[in-house]
Amino acid sequence: MLKKMARIAALAAVTALAGAGLQDAAQAFPDKPVNYIIPFNAGGESDISARLQQPYFKTVTGQDLIVQYQPGAGGAQAWSVLNDQPGDGTTIMGTNLPHIVLQPLLQNPGYATDDLTNVYMFHFTPDALIVRADSKFKSVQDVIDAAKEQPGALTAGGSATNSANHIANQRFANLTGAQLTYIPYTGTGATIPALLGGEVEMLWAYTTVAAGQGDKVRMLAVAQDERHPLFPDVPTFKELGIDMVGGAYRGIAVPKSTPEEVRKELSAIIGKINADPAFINQMEQAGFAMLNVPYEGMDAFMAERKAYYEGIAKELGSAK
């Protein structure tokens, strides 16, 4: 009883706080600022893309998008409490693939992949094989030849164990027979000095790394269907006959209690932002690749990705 009354009181307080927003609300949703929880540290790629979305969200909806951070355990700390958040559309959370598939597969992170209600997947950073600008490797074929000559002698850095980079390395080995020794680092940022300083011969990283490092690095190939607009000269793996398309996908999820129509509204809003030419240009300049998986198409997309990652995770040898 007391609990209920307190809830009502708290609710009343919240509504009162949001009162100013209610008056000029032209739209049904959102009628107050939306909290956007990033399950990683500020300054990472998830944060940068959220920061880029922020102003467009304001233009599209008239409401503020407030970015909050809840980092920990590679995102698991935030994802494990997503469903405890209020389900009125005022709380959304960034989700990342393959993290949300691999973590429950390999550990017990406190949530299951299906606990997360993904609403929209808006972009991905395609896997890329990157070497230093002065490297002797000019093409993917050079790498394959060298790796076949001395299996395991070449080192490829990447972010963490059992991550998107680790998967790319494994998939590459499966498809080409080139064995590289994968060296895990803490985060993509830490891999860059390792490459530039010569500790590793190459990196499994993303197009965003190549965009940030400019002419100090050379990208040998990208794991996209078509060439990235920022790198028209870099071939895709597919062109080279290696069937690799993928990377780290980003999207948003809502608590399970969020009503169906709010999920659809959110999906429409993100879709609108994602269609803005100025936004697309900003994202592509930073190296991101646009993707549009709205709420309606989410189930099929997730099912396809899950099957893909589950197969690879077994080969990494640590799946339960």
Partner: protein, 160 residues
């Protein structure tokens, strides 16, 4: 707690027993890990256990040596035991309850208990009222700073 005054090495011995167990646990747990993840725990576990064994022997033979930085607290640990236990109990309760009850209410309650714990002399009623107001204002001010300025999602829990 091994806090008897008689032999000053008893506390040191109990401490080294704890570290010995931890070291052994870490060492044997590491046997179940993959080789890359096990190397460091195995080394450190063995080192910890070995050092703790030496320390245990030193404590029993009275060659334990002096105490460190905060070791001075050991001599006067009997002072204000009730207050110390209140402090510990309050902190534990605070940490466990605030996600359920709510940050504001739990913190206010805990701060008031600690205020009473920190009162050593009789104070006038006016002073007490000032303290009460001060503690309440502090909790409220920091709560607002955290939730509204720094955008930290503080748990509201069942109450507030």
């Amino acid at each position: 707690m091994n806090g008897e005054q008689g032999n000053r090495d008893v506390a040191g011995f109990a401490g080294s027993l704890f570290f010995l167990c931890t070291g052994l646990f870490v060492f044997f747990e590491s046997l179940t890990l993959s080789p890359l993840a096990a190397a460091f725990p195995r080394t450190i576990g063995a080192t910890l256990a070995g050092l703790a064994l030496l320390q245990a022997a030193a404590s029993l033979t009275g060659r334990s040596g002096g105490t460190m930085e905060t070791g001075a607290a050991a001599g006067r640990h009997a002072d204000g035991l009730g207050r110390k236990l209140t402090m510990i109990a309050t902190m534990v309760g605070w940490a466990l309850l605030f996600p359920l009850v709510g940050m504001f209410v739990t913190s206010l309650a805990a701060c008031l208990i600690l205020m009473a714990t920190g009162l050593f002399e009789r104070v006038s009623r006016g002073r007490l009222a000032a303290y009460l107001a001060g503690v309440t204002a502090m909790v409220a001010a920091f709560y607002l700073l955290m939730s509204h300025v720094l955008n930290i999602p503080l748990p509201r829990g069942a109450l507030f």
